[in-house]
Amino acid sequence: MDSHAIVTGQEQHEEHEEHPAYLRHHFVTVEQQRETASFGMWLFLLTEIMFFGGLFMAYLLYRNWYYDAFVAGSNTLGIGLGTTNTAVLILSSFTMAMGVYSAETRNRKGLVTFLSLTILLGLVFLGIKSKEYHDKYVEHHIPGASFSVEDFVHPADKRDVPLAPDMAQHAQLFFFLYFAMTGMHALHMVIGISILFFLLYHAWHGAYTNGHTSTIDNFGLYWHFVDIVWIFLFPLLYLISRHPLK
């Protein structure tokens, strides 16, 4: 008695004359392997949605509770840098998508170019982000012992409504969530860029342009997801409580 006990298929594997080296032993077809990998990636992205979901929840709650503090905090963020960063990230998503396209059309040079561009844009994003973080540090807006409510109690901009000191303290919550959300996002960027370097190395040596594009596809999904997170962070943190232009 062994594994032959079960009725076997009519020689399933005969139909697939081609068995590329990258087909793992437990898959029947390349198509199955590709679909499986991308489905797995999507499920992982679902967990990411819920991971950020907790932070969004906290943000929404405290924004409603301490609206004035959140408005004041939001107005200290540099909208120029924020918008630039959004554009940079969208552009990097585009180059990533083009990278996927190059891989699918078996264009090694294109793939290498677009991966490099994606890395570059990712680094630009992180650079701008660190500039923003540095600004917050200079302004004493980093929550904790060094946090100063001065800018909120006695705002320099005359459009800002001065906050009562108790409300101004709650700006710390805004900045905490700002750092937690953008920090978590930046962490995903850093991980993404590290993987990109790895992919670039292999792409240089001709991987992914031999018809096996799953890895690039799935990394693309991850990269776009990180982009989507930012697409929501940007309006929530920077935009929705802007002062109107006078």
Binding site: D2, I6, V7, G40, T47, G53, G54, A58, L177
Partner: protein, 553 residues
Amino acid sequence: MSTIVTLPNQEEARLPKLSYLNSEYGLKSWLLTGDHKRIAMLYLISITFFFFLGGAFAGLIRLELLTPQPDLVASDTYNKLFTMHGVIMIFLFLVPSVPATVGNFVIPIMVGAKDLAFPKINLLSWYLYVAGACFLVYALLNGGVDTGWTFTTPLSTHYLNTHVITAAMGVFIAGFSSIFTGLNFIVTIHRMRCPGMTWFRLPLFCWSHYAASILMVLGTPVLAITLVLVMLERTVGIGVFDPTKGGDPLLFQHLFWFYSHPAVYIMILPGMGVISEVISTFSRKRVFGYTAVAFSSVAIAVFGFFVWAHHMFIMGVSNYSALVFSLLTMLVAVPSAIKIFNWAATLYKGSLTFETPMLYAFGFMGLFTIGGLTGVFLGSLGMDIHLTETYFIVAHFHFVMVGGMLMAYLAGVHFWWPKMTGRMYPESMSQLAAVTTFIGFILTFFPQFIVGYLGMPRRYHAYPPEFQVLNVLSTAGATVLGIGYLLPMLYMPWSLKYGKIAGSNPWQATGLEWQIQSPPLTENFVDIPVMDHEAYDYEWLAHKTEHEVTTVG
């Protein structure tokens, strides 16, 4: 329609020459394996270790509660004991118990695949489990943690100086282990089914694991981010959950229970899957109302996301919200009732035998019924006021988790033991263990319902003397229960060498896993099978067995 089943002749069975156990040797071949069966074994060993570690804490807790005075250990030690008991039992035993061992082992075979969709991620999941466990053990060895497994803020964030961050980190990492297991199962069940294996030909075990996996994938990340916030709050002290700084401690409760209530279903659903398999096999009968049982699993998973605030009825949630959550809680109880009745109906006109897995399954049905019905007590708003946070709730979730899940886990391990090892466990010894466990369990936890209605609060180190009788009963029961759990630890390893050779299908069960050799080959199937019959088709099996006999003879 009737089926005669003749059990195969045990004397003729031989161990196969080549199997996943002897395909490769050496520690490295185990620690770097991609084989779902070997990873299941790794899990089995690790969770058994943590089960007995958690059990030892439980033993100390019960011993302390033998007398009303706080005389065995200091208050802080007692708090650490129940915290570590809870954390270890939930995150290191119950959550991975059935899915990561039995599920890991049989799900790919059940769907007719050679492995899980992502073997490396499966291995990674075990390493994450071990890493998380290391953090928890580190916290334990360095003085433990005393937050309670619920990490309630602001207690955990501002008022304790134990290893909260280390423990939270451990749970965080173990959480990702569970996410990856769930992810793997969902993808495998969707993508790796063999030709002919339609959704409604899947064994119910797969359905319940599918439902549990959805909860793992969508619920666990919320716990992860919540623990990150707790760790951040402890280190930088901003006050997201601190009322004196404008935060709301109830937000923590919301986020925490958003995972931790579905986690209850993560723990129990795979157990329900085991029971479906066991009841069907030992009745030699298709599960009554297959579709109802299958969809009730999915219903539990879906409704499971809508009921979390029933842990917070007295905590100051809005009354309106409490009303809605109570109503939804009542709804989630219904699918469980459907399952119980369907299993009972499966027995009708069956041909029943009472091997150990079946005894455990009966134990499950009885204890889970009590556990489920007492859940209705707690889901009813008014009753919850009096009962919550007392020993009633302790008894309730132990009936579900230990009486339900642990019984199911033991049923599953016994049921698939011949498949995993190729050898039978000793039958009479294990039946004794099953009965001992059942008696010990009732004796341990039933008095806790009574003492709970009397008002004895949970997590109490010392208690008023009039509760002593019931507590003594409970401790006595725990001793019996402990013996019941230790017995398998003796005879299971024994059976590895001295057990009878099982043969490929000792129970005459219908699942694909029983149609291949025991223990299976590394790649499970030589050729991908084609499923040409319904799940639990005993006539197909009888026909096949007959056919085999004639061809061999």
